[in-house]
């Protein structure tokens, strides 16, 4: 499908109404969700949504209007509304911060897909989840079993007044299982893979990677075992975090604070600001020498991988943290220009009705050189934690506290008994500077986060933080259960 005609009409309307620059992004979105819950299919839905968003720049102020009305009148109304909104903002502006992008692209991009999920019969998809969910119920104590699958396909068409024409087909899939056990006055939950399932760019092959049925019995058994497991102790310990928990740690303590819009105060009233201030660029020792974190929006299977972002900027690879030093940010055109850099294509909108904004995209902790099992070797008295259960960090992104679903004690380099309710806390730079080992490529996973909230109106972003397990020294454990 081509939207060139409606696009030309919208852009002409915007310019005739006074826009200095305009772009329009059409999207056809299809979302399918299946969720099995306690033996029945609790959700079986197929959602399609089609619409467009117009950005207009008037005298340095942006306006954005979105609509699902594809009639000529609807296109004219939305384009005019975007210009009127921009003009209203310009009328009270104290300074000018908006600028048109400089580069023009004509291109197509499609997520590599080995098997289209829609080629898999619906009955087969449902059966996979029902079988996995059933296997979670290893005991009457498993009060709730869940198994779910999401299939998302987005066709995007981007046009701008400087001549960009970009077509993209993005395919993303994910699935997971969860068991909630109730008993002995307690409630315990186990989730797999990771803490939210396995979400990646790709097709049915991503569902197969998750291996839900093969792991369901173990997950059910672990949820029940946690009910009678001893409480994780409080104190200062060396800790090893599983890969999905390292992924969330990157997300909260590096991904969000490195968003340049936050740094510049654009999220101050809601998501907050950032301790990674511009004056710290090239000066702050964020982490230890082995910590290198990069944005790679070209990564195969990365949940946030695209050809171009929603401002029409081509995807790139760039550094945020290099050998522990803060060297970069996630940027848009306007924010990059403000610090004398070029955008690194980190702008996304949830869907057609939302304004594009900076999102963390694929933000990856590069793997180390230690096999996973060897992370335990130098730990005399420590805790190994897996699968996030609770996450909280202050509005500068410094003081954090995370909880995990389960843990094991480590004694003299060996993994010991299972522990429940582990929490750990700290301050971001001290924590990352205490990282002294990162597991190697063999345990590096492109963990996707399909539910990242940011912005007002709030938008749900699909990000990824690729990571392997890592070790941290002298971390405060147990604050969540000590008060």
């Amino acid at each position: 499908m081509s939207f060139e005609g409606p696009a030309a009409r919208a852009l002409d309307t915007a310019v005739s109404r006074g826009a200095d620059y305009a772009d329009i992004r059409f999207e056809n979105v299809r979302s399918e969700r299946i969720e099995a819950r306690n033996g029945v299919v609790a959700t079986l839905s197929d959602t399609s949504s089609r619409g467009y968003g117009v950005r207009a720049l008037v005298d340095g102020a942006w306006g954005f209007a979105a609509s699902s009305d594809l009639s000529d009148a609807g296109i004219d109304r939305a384009a005019s509304r975007a210009v009127a909104i921009a003009r209203a903002g310009a009328a009270i502006a104290r300074n000018r911060m908006g600028h048109a992008p400089a580069k023009t692209y004509t291109d197509r991009f499609a997520t590599p897909v080995k098997r289209d999920p829609h080629d898999v019969p619906l009955g087969e998809r449902v059966r996979l989840l029902l079988d996995a969910e059933k296997a979670l119920h290893v005991s009457p104590k498993v009060s709730v079993g869940r198994a779910w699958m999401d299939l998302w396909t987005t066709d995007k068409y981007f046009y701008s007044t400087i001549g960009s024409k970009i077509e993209q087909r993005l395919s993303q899939t994910g699935s997971g299982i969860e068991a909630m056990a109730v008993g002995e006055g307690d409630v315990q939950t186990r989730t797999f893979p990771g803490d939210i399932g396995l979400y990646k760019a790709g097709g049915w092959e991503i569902i197969e990677q998750a291996q839900l049925a093969a792991n369901a019995q173990r997950i059910g058994e672990e949820a029940v075992a946690l009910l009678s497991a001893p409480q994780c102790p409080s104190g200062t310990f060396d800790i090893i975090l599983g890969g999905s928990q390292v992924s969330l740690q990157i997300h909260e303590s590096c991904g969000h604070p490195a968003e340049l819009d936050r740094v510049m105060g654009w999220e101050a009233n809601f998501s907050g600001v950032s301790f990674l201030e511009i004056e710290q660029l090239g000066r702050l020792k964020y982490g230890s020498d082995i910590v290198t974190i990069v944005i790679d929006n070209t990564l195969p299977e990365g949940l946030a991988t695209v050809g171009y972002d929603d401002e029409g900027t081509k995807s790139t690879v760039s550094d945020i943290i290099r050998n522990g030093m803060l060297v970069g940010y996630e940027m848009s055109n306007d924010t990059a220009r403000a610090i004398g850099r070029e955008s690194n294509a980190c702008v996304r909108a949830q869907s057609w009705e939302f304004v594009p904004m900076i999102r963390m995209c694929n933000l990856n902790l590069l793997p180390g050189d230690v096999p996973f099992e060897n992370l335990f070797d130098d730990v005399k008295d420590g805790i190994y934690m897996e699968s996030n259960r609770s996450w909280s960090i202050d509005d500068h992104r410094l003081n954090f506290q995370f909880g995990c679903e389960m843990a094991w004690e480590i004694k003299n380099g060996k993994r010991g008994r299972m522990l429940k309710n582990p929490t750990y806390s700290g301050m971001t730079p001290q924590f990352w500077n205490s990282c002294d080992a990162i597991a190697d490529q063999d345990s590096w996973v492109a963990w996707g986060t399909p539910n990242c909230g940011k912005g007002e109106p709030i938008q749900t972003g699909r990000t990824a933080q690729c990571a392997s397990p890592a070790r941290f020294r002298n971390v405060l454990v147990g604050a969540g259960y000590r008060g």
């Binding site: 909104i85 502006a93 104290r94 449902v126 009060s143 409630v187 304004v355 509005d395 109106p457």
Partner: protein, 443 residues
Amino acid sequence: MDSAERETLARKVLAFSDADQTEVLVWSANSALTRFTHNMVHQNVADADVSVRVRAIVGKRTGVAITNVLDDAALKDLASRAIEMARLAPEDPELPDLSAGGEAAAPEGAYVEQTAAAAPEARAQMCDAIFKTAEAHDYWCAGYVTTSSHGVTIVNSSGARASFDGTDSGVNVKMTADDSTGFAEGYDADVTRLDAHAIGARSAEKAKASARPRSVDPGEWTVILEPAAFGELFAYLAGHFSAQNFDEGSSFLSDGLDKLYLGENVTISDDYAHPLNPGMPFDYEGYPTKRLTLVEGGVAKNVVTDNYWAHKLNRENTGHGLPAPNAYGPQASHLVVAPGSKPLAQLIAETPRGLLITRFWYIRPVDQKKAVVTGMTRDGTFLIENGEITGGVRNMRFNQSIIEALKRCEFANALHRTGGYSYSLIVPAVKIDGFAFSSGTEF
């Protein structure tokens, strides 16, 4: 799209379905938000959409399809897709028939034309009033002004027919000074009742009063939570009133109703018709929503149900369903905490040593059953000494059971509407003894 147009659309789609039972839900929304930072608008947006959702039931099998493409071909395809999915779905032996609904009148004041028609210039002028307050103090402000209208129409093959139109508006301001911040908010279905200047001024007063913050030791403190802080905390209790969580053992009420769980001064209701937050009088299955007392004098009295959970637990349908079927269960989405008898100023005056907290941030559950949550203070935290506010303090992290906090609390006598992206509540300020902080910050 008005309610008559939505109903015409819904009935057309209903006629396209030959499922055993069919429900059609039509949403329309038109919203705008002007967001600002550093005393200028940086994000100024609006969107409009209409979506149609079909739930088709074949025997005891269900399929759901949703679209916003409204031509006849797309709508016929929508009905066909829902039926096709239902035929491939496994049976749910406990699936009840669609309800026939009932009469449900919209509460007074739920829809205000001035809000629905608010222009970008009107929002800009409200922002400008806030900017001028910031500039007068040499502060900078960040926040938003928003206006919206929304409509919901539901019809089904059992005869349910329900329609609602509502509006909403909000102002949210964080004011930033050299070493302190302040926050204020306001929400109303009628945008003309929002005083943006006053909200901006209140946030500036908070920033000024919390300047040069000092550190205090973590540990157990007497706290007074203003409505924004208490609302953010209390929102994490909402799921416990769901019949689903109640039955499955994850609610703090799961040991049974008619038992004392909270302080005897705690009364909680769910009331869609409260004048501070008038909302939809029926649920997303078209069933009239009951105004319900959930906790009275600390004793659990009710949980909220939908058609499925009422049938499953042999309880009354209270009309709190989300679009069905779903994995989340029924939800209490119009919670009201009953006020106490004393003004907030008196609660402060009666506190020898404590903390006055404007707002919390990033609260997350730590322990589901015990309702232990963690989070941070932000944007205006103050030390109370000998009944007086003596200055700002640096922010701290807490780990606290909401249930235990509500066993040792005292409410102020005024109710306020407070909100976040996922909740809208009516609560008073509250004084809580023994609130547990675990660490601090340098700001």
